[in-house]
């Protein structure tokens, strides 16, 4: 066996606890006959003992207090961030509501076009939607961003968003309410933002719970 190569390699493996049984018995039999390698291994082991014998150093007495003084004060946003990390469900709920409300608000602001839920048989002039005489609208009627004049009949609920119900300018407009035609249901006018949001939520909730 080559003392400087194989034997040395095995000695280090032995010191690292990496040596196989086969190699160990090879090394042992080599050491029995080789004084040089015995000495080498002894020196290596002694070196390790010497390293381990060096005195342990201690940190200065005020070390811990110095570290504690230097710790950064938590900034508020870090605190919030940690809170969010620790409560993922609440965070998700908060984000959901923010998106929902901003979505509704922007929809409210952007939709300035006239919209009618079921425009068949109706007359539309600019911003005015007219239910002509003799016409009966089946079902609910929703008019958005427009005024509504009812000469005929609506067989359901009427909802006006951002609009007014136009009364017939009759001769007797002195105070008597004109007949609002026939609305066989509720008549709702929505023109303020919160009512509009509320209306949307109601619709959504109704939608969720009336799935048939």
């Amino acid at each position: 066996m080559d003392c400087n190569k194989e034997a040395l390699e095995m000695m280090h493996k032995h010191l690292d606890g990496d040596i196989t049984r086969e190699e160990e018995s090879l090394l042992r039999s080599h050491l029995e006959g080789c004084v040089e390698c015995q000495k080498h291994l002894h020196e290596l082991k002694r070196t390790i003992t010497l390293i381990q014998s060096t005195e342990k150093l201690k940190a200065p007495d005020d070390f811990t207090s110095k570290v504690m003084q230097q710790l950064p004060v938590e900034k508020k946003h870090v605190k919030y961030l940690r809170w969010f990390k620790m409560h993922p469900i609440l965070t998700a709920a908060a984000i959901f509501f923010v998106f929902m409300f901003t979505g509704l608000l922007s929809a409210f602001e952007q939709d300035s076009q006239l919209m009618v839920s079921n425009p068949e048989d109706l007359i539309i002039e600019d911003n005015l939607v007219i239910v002509p005489e003799g016409v009966t609208v089946q079902g609910d009627l929703v008019v958005q961003n427009g005024n509504l004049k009812i000469d005929g009949k609506v067989d359901g609920n009427v909802t006006l968003i951002n609009g007014n119900l136009v009364e017939e300018q009759g001769l007797d407009s002195s105070g008597l309410m004109a007949d609002v035609g026939g609305v066989n249901g509720e008549l709702k006018e929505v023109d303020r933002i919160f009512e509009w949001v509320w209306y949307n939520i109601q619709k959504m909730v109704k939608g969720i719970f009336s799935i048939e």
Partner: protein, 187 residues
């Protein structure tokens, strides 16, 4: 001990300062000694050891609790000491031999407690002589020798701390042992 530390870290993650104080107290001597042996003087050692704990605190959320905390902490400390060594000499290479002056600096620091200069020159005590020899090893060998024999990490853990393959750790520890053997065999 590992269990207690694990518990403390959970508290630190919740924002508990006092729990971190316990962690610093538990590891301060080890980390300080590690930095001292890497840097060779107490001023830088204290500076870097403190920095290591502060970084550990700031980055505690990136510590993976399935792994050993001491490995993670030593990794921070070792990286900081290596950065400091690089900054100290702009053209410093890890392969280059450390010049003797650094070791002498450290020696004079250690022996500064009231000894006469003649005594210092005459009697290089065994302790100081060994420490000087360790200090003169190139940092890449020195760190591994210290982690293995002074701080009792396994080769696998050393490979994690230094972020190098275990094969490299083995090669370096062999060379480090041989280098020290040559210097210490006449002691």
């Amino acid at each position: 001990m590992e269990l207690i530390i694990r518990d403390k870290i959970k508290q630190v993650k919740k924002g508990d300062h006092a729990a971190f104080e316990d962690i610093v107290m538990f590891y301060q001597d080890k980390i300080y000694q590690h930095c001292h042996r890497m840097l060779g003087n107490k001023h830088e050692a204290e500076d870097i050891a403190q920095e290591a704990f502060i970084r550990a605190y700031v980055n505690i959320h990136s510590y993976d609790e399935r792994r050993k905390f001491s490995t993670w902490l030593y990794r921070i400390a070792t990286n900081l000491t290596i950065d400091r060594l690089r900054k100290r000499k702009p053209d410093y290479y890890l392969d280059a031999e450390v010049k003797g002056t650094e070791g002498l600096d450290m020696y004079s620091q250690l022996a500064a407690d009231g000894k006469l200069p003649e005594d210092e020159v005459e009697g290089l005590e065994l302790q100081n002589y060994i420490q000087k020899q360790i200090a003169e090893l190139p940092p890449k060998y020195r760190s591994i020798i210290m982690l293995r024999y002074l701080e009792d990490f396994s080769l696998q853990e050393i490979s994690e701390i230094l972020d190098i393959p275990i094969g490299t750790v083995k090669t370096r520890i062999h060379r480090g042992r041989e280098a020290l053997r040559k210097k210490l065999r006449h002691v």
